[in-house]
């Protein structure tokens, strides 16, 4: 006999397990995206045209294609190269690359927003490239970048829901499973949506708060 489960505490707990993987995937992608994004941003504002064009190409490739395709290409592409990838590894790699490209573009803008006089002054003081970046440019760019970076993190959390499509059991996939088991899609997806909202909304608010705080400070 076919038995249909009710949406009870166990089902909700299963969704929370999914939430844990959503958070994990977002954090891994963000942690990988920080060094990747910094490298791309620095290459994008470098003097060498080769590095600049390479970084520009990477950014346009990731901004011009659907996230879902990026995920598929990593998942199936690395499989062809002989790597047996679990959906978790494929998703972690794909989202790291995605985050690197987007953070690279965000941070390029922030580095360029630091007044040019700062670079000139640092060069006049005979600071080396790395000293100039480390102590003069990046600390100022960091402050400018915070609102957009937090905003991108929200995008990333929402984006990880696509990992459900390659079969990684994060929050959205957990929702699908529970929905199929309970036959209560309306209730289940509303709860799933509410959990995402509870995760993303405070971050969005924080991003807005940072934006207005710095806008006031700069006035």
């Amino acid at each position: 006999m076919l038995t249909v489960r009710d949406f009870g505490f166990n089902e909700f707990f299963f969704l929370l397990t999914g939430l844990w993987w959503t958070i994990g995937l977002s954090l891994v992608a963000f942690a990988g995206g920080v060094p990747g994004g910094l490298a791309i941003a620095l290459a994008r504002v470098a003097n060498g045209p080769l590095r600049r064009y390479f970084a520009k190409g990477v950014i346009e490739l990731f901004q011009g294609t659907p996230l879902l395709m990026q995920l598929f290409l990593v998942y199936f592409g690395l499989g062809l190269l002989g790597f047996e990838l679990s959906p978790w590894t494929a998703a972690a790699i794909a989202f790291t690359l995605h985050a690197s490209a987007f953070l690279g573009e965000i941070w390029r803008g922030c580095i360029e927003a630091v007044p040019k006089g700062q670079t000139e002054a640092a060069t006049a003081l005979a600071l080396s490239y790395w000293t100039r970046m480390r102590y003069v440019i990046l600390p100022q760019a960091f402050r400018i970048s915070l609102p957009a970076t937090v905003g991108f993190f929200v995008q990333l959390i929402k984006g990880t829901s696509l990992a459900a499509i390659i079969g990684f059991t994060e929050l959205a996939r957990a929702g699908q499973i529970i929905s199929n088991a309970t036959w209560q899609p309306l209730l289940v997806y509303t709860v799933v949506g509410a959990i995402y909202f509870a995760l993303c909304w405070p971050l969005s608010r924080y991003s807005k708060h940072l934006e207005s705080k710095y806008a006031l400070a700069d006035r």
Binding site: V154, G175, S179, P185, G193
Partner: protein, 222 residues
């Protein structure tokens, strides 16, 4: 490595890929138009004197922008039939995309309207422009100029997001790719080609939008 790439399978199926591409374009344009209408209504609602009306507008924008599109479309396509509302995958896709782009466009348009200061409108009236001229030259054109870049990149974004509607089997480009994959098992080749198609679409769209910007909004240089 023994794998032999075979792009022939993909290229031989170009008619259905073109069909999928065409549906992707149509979905995006329809969603953008409907989304802009929703956004205009929501911008007005946000400025309403009635507390409830502006609260609805605020809730709409925050809920849509802080939940994944995949969950929104699942809720619409799998959830609503519980309430007796059934739609075809393509209809659900258009509605979900419109609701999604509407929320982002609301924020963009609101920013544009707020960028016009009251002093500018008063100045326009003071130099003897008629109210309609004030609307056209002082409010509409500068506001459009201010929001045009954000709105057009939102359009490209919704075109890319539309790939997600494949998950409810709306038969646009990504769905066509997925069904070709199950028929031929040439997953990498197919997704590679389809990714290139999306890249070309993005490139063409941004060129068209750049051209239109110069045509519509450039100030006279002298």
């Amino acid at each position: 490595m023994t794998y032999q790439f075979d792009f022939g399978v993909v290229l031989r199926n170009y008619p259905i890929l073109l069909e999928g591409t065409w549906l992707t374009i149509r979905l995006s344009i329809t969603a953008m138009v409907l989304g802009l209408l929703i956004a205009l209504a929501m911008v007005l609602a946000r400025r309403s004197r009635f507390w409830g009306v502006s609260a609805i507008s605020l809730a709409y924008v925050e809920i849509v922008r802080n939940t994944p599109f995949l969950v929104q479309i699942f809720l619409l396509y799998f959830g609503l039939p519980t309430l007796g509302i059934r739609m075809s995958p393509n209809t659900a896709a258009v509605i979900a995309l419109s609701i999604n782009v509407g929320a982002y466009a609301t924020e963009i348009i609101r920013g544009g309207v707020e960028s016009i200061s009251k002093g500018q409108i008063e100045a326009g009236l003071a130099i003897g422009l008629r109210p309609l001229q004030v609307f056209r030259y002082v409010i509409f054109k500068p506001a459009m100029r201010a929001i045009y870049p954000a709105l057009t990149s939102q359009f490209i974004l919704i075109m890319l997001t539309s790939s997600v509607v494949a998950s409810i089997s709306a038969n646009e480009l990504t769905y066509v790719a997925q069904s070709l994959e199950t028929m031929t098992f040439r997953s990498f080749e197919i997704y590679f080609v389809v990714t290139i198609v999306y890249l070309i679409l993005t490139f063409l769209l941004s060129r068209i939008f750049d051209f239109l910007y110069g045509y519509l909004f450039s100030y006279p240089t002298r």
